[in-house]
Amino acid sequence: MIAPTAPDQPDRTPHETRPLVLSLAGVTKRFGNLVANYAIDLDVRAGEIVALLGENGAGKTTLMSILFGHYVADEGTVHIADAAGRLAPLPGGSAEAALDAGIGMVHQHFTLAENLTGFENIVLGTVPLWRLGFGTAAARAKVARLMKESGLEADLDVPVGRLSVGEQQRIEILKALYRDVRVLILDEPTAVLTPQEADSLSATVKTLAGKGLAVIFISHKLHEVLALCERVVVLRGGAKVADRPAAGADRAMLAELMVGREIPARERTPSTLGAPVLRLVGVAVGAPGERDRLETADLELRGGEIIGIAGVSGNGQGSLAALVAGLKAARSGICEIAGYPATRTDPMTRIKAGVGRIPEDRHRDGTIGALSVAENHVLETVGSSENQRHGLLRRTAIRARAAQAIRDYDIRCPGPDAPIRALSGGNMQKVVLARVLERAPRLILAHQPTRGLDIGATTDVHRRLLAARGRGAGILLISEDLDELFALSDRIAVIHAGHLSPAMEVAGLDVRIVGLMMAGHTAEEDA
């Protein structure tokens, strides 16, 4: 072992004495004509928590991919401190080199092997596979030490597929720590957590930073960024537009830096309530023992209102959404849609009854990647007379209507014939919105409608949902994002372990209570 020596610190300032662990200079990356990153400089010091903000397409992912070795920068340099604290160039284009150099990343979508235990996932890749299960005492001890130091608690001995999302995330972080990372990148880490879990994650991140770990925190939630991070770096259009201390910054200012223009405030006007469009009485969906099943749900949603369903994914939202979407039928209880009993498992009867469905996963359920924008736009209505005659597609009419939707919904794409997989997530979601909302549905199922979207696209989705509410549609909004639920909903019900709480008026509702209910406490015991 070489004894640590004092690292070079060319820009030592009176109040900044912590050593640099990561230094990017002039990083530029082009994809064809698109400049994804332009001359980005970024320094991160040991123990520092830096927020990286930016809309989708601002270049965050590209920059992190360069750091993590998935891409090679066209210009610029990446230096990272070695074990002795000396800055050395990071070999580009190699994930192994990045790992060896001490860069760890926790992706938004976890990269865990669900059939292996937490412990096996943590050590996976550091020992030969055939040795898993043998001679692990030292590794065990190291993981135990890391858990103690960081305060990360998780069951290490069950397959991670059975763990909650929060626990899986803790396993991911432990996996990075086990590799002795010096720079930890967290990509949207709180997107899937309850407020309490998010608080505990923040505490962990602060503890880790206190021990000298540098953390790059990517998030859309500006209040979290302001509460947790010391420094905020904002990317827009591939370039760095701000790099400033978090102290003194506010949310509106950061949002405007990210978007590059003023964000219009959401307008929620009082609306008149109409007839019930969805009525659930004692509804259960899914066989006993099935994951994500719905045990009991009583709900009445009327036209002109938005009911938000809060809860951590996997507590029955999937079954509730499948019921409304027509993919599953109720096992027991009464489900009425627009006044008629909905007993059949058939999406098409729901569509014809005036249900607009925005699925949770737009890639897997909402769109067909290889088909064009125009074809995806008519996916639900291809059999109707406006789209076909004698079984032949009316291609000109279909294209023309897609072109109209592209204008109306401001869908950024090369044209109606472009395959939809070439579109960004936000624009893909706009195609889904156009498909759903153009039919003026009476009941709208919006399942995580803004997951993964940037501020601009999110604002657009929210505006359109509120407009549909104003038009008299009843909206069932299932979301894990409490900000979104509180901003849009008239009433909020919480779902936990398959049980749906009564819907509570949002006016005067405390977000902490919703958070506790999401974790399984009842409203009464904690109110």
């Binding site: 284009g93 999406p347 897997r364 291809v382 032949l392």
Partner: protein, 355 residues
């Protein structure tokens, strides 16, 4: 280090260049074993080309051989478009052939204008019926159609042998296991007298064009593409996934059945258990070469048929085993698969910097 970077869009010229390049690469690769076996490589290739297309007669023979390959190629293309992995075109071909002799060898006495369509429809339905069984098991129980269709090939072939040794055996065939000949009224006429080329080719081309129109221009074609590309999203959107799969089964099995009818009623005149030298399996190669495009199946089938016919003729001329044809086909399939990779990904060479 080599990295594969996905292309955002594959230009048309590249797709064409890859197809042609793959064919050339396959021939170059074949030259190696050819040279090793001591044959004069260049003249061997010349003899192959001449054997496949060197004369009107040779080319007519290639087209004759291409006819069943177009049918089975289309059968594979439409099934694979819908992600229905039908490996059973061989069995469906025999089912169609069996139906052809069952209906066309004396059971019905009708004028040709009626008997030919009846025989063709019967053969298509027989092929379709054989595929609809695995489709049903797939949709209802999630049974893997690769296994079921593959194994049904052997079931069907043994069934044909049983029929040819038993109830369908031609008494006049001096003990050979073959069926009675189809009636003249059920025979597909020759295209040109004196050649073996028959109207099956025209029917195959019509089927290719019809399938192209179906896939690109009709509602059901749209549904088939949607189901094939993303069955989950298709189901979510309320598309009739089961009906679309049943239609695909009907079309794919039916086309393979027509291959059998075309061979029996157009070329052989009667059914034997060695009717097909693997046309059903070669159809998969044809469809892959054609990138699952129905119109592309026509040139791909002609290419594969040309390789077989040319290699046959070359091996007779210079005394090299005609297994070489199988080698060329296998190498072209590999070349095309690798070429497809090149079309979808850009290859980037990254020099690993040392820190």
């Amino acid at each position: 280090m080599i990295r594969f970077v996905p292309r955002e869009r594959t230009p048309v010229w590249l797709t064409l260049a890859v197809s042609v390049g793959a064919g050339i690469a396959a021939l170059l690769l074949t030259a190696v074993p050819l040279a090793l076996s001591g044959a004069p490589v260049l003249s061997a290739f010349r003899l192959m080309v001449e054997g496949a297309a060197g004369s009107g007669f040779a080319f007519a023979e290639t087209l004759t051989r291409a006819t069943p390959l177009i049918f089975t190629g289309l059968a594979a293309a439409i099934a694979f478009r819908a992600r229905l992995w039908n490996i059973g075109a061989e069995g469906q071909l025999y089912a169609g052939a069996l139906a052809t002799v069952a209906l066309g060898a004396g059971l019905l006495e009708l004028p040709p204008a009626l008997l030919v369509p009846v025989v063709l429809v019967g053969a298509a339905l027989a092929g379709a019926a054989l595929l609809l069984v695995p489709v049903f098991f797939k949709m209802r129980f999630g049974a893997d159609e690769v296994v079921v269709t593959l194994l049904l090939n052997f079931v069907m072939l043994l069934f044909v042998q049983m029929m040819l040794e038993g109830p369908m055996k031609d008494e006049m065939a001096l003990g050979w296991p073959q069926s009675a000949p189809v009636l003249d009224e059920a025979t597909l006429p020759k295209l040109v007298s004196g050649l073996r080329l028959h109207w099956g080719l025209v029917l195959a081309v019509i089927c290719a064009v019809a399938l192209h129109v179906l896939i690109t221009r009709t509602v059901w074609g749209f549904r088939i593409r949607a189901v094939g590309e993303n069955a989950r999203a298709a189901r979510y959107a309320g598309l009739p996934v089961g009906k679309a799969m049943a239609l695909v089964g009907l079309l794919s099995g039916g086309l393979a059945g027509l291959a059998g009818a075309s061979e029996v009623a157009g070329l052989k005149g009667y059914l034997t258990a060695d009717l097909s030298p693997g046309f059903g399996y070669a159809g998969i190669v044809v469809a892959t070469l054609a990138n699952l495009s129905p119109l592309g199946v026509i040139p791909a089938a002609i290419f594969i048929a040309g390789v077989f016919v040319g290699a046959d003729s070359m091996s007779r001329a210079i005394g090299v085993s005609n297994y070489l044809a199988d080698l060329v086909v296998a190498l072209s399939l590999l070349s095309v698969l690798i070429g497809g990779l090149l079309a979808r990904f850009r290859i980037v060479f990254v020099r690993r910097e040392t820190a």
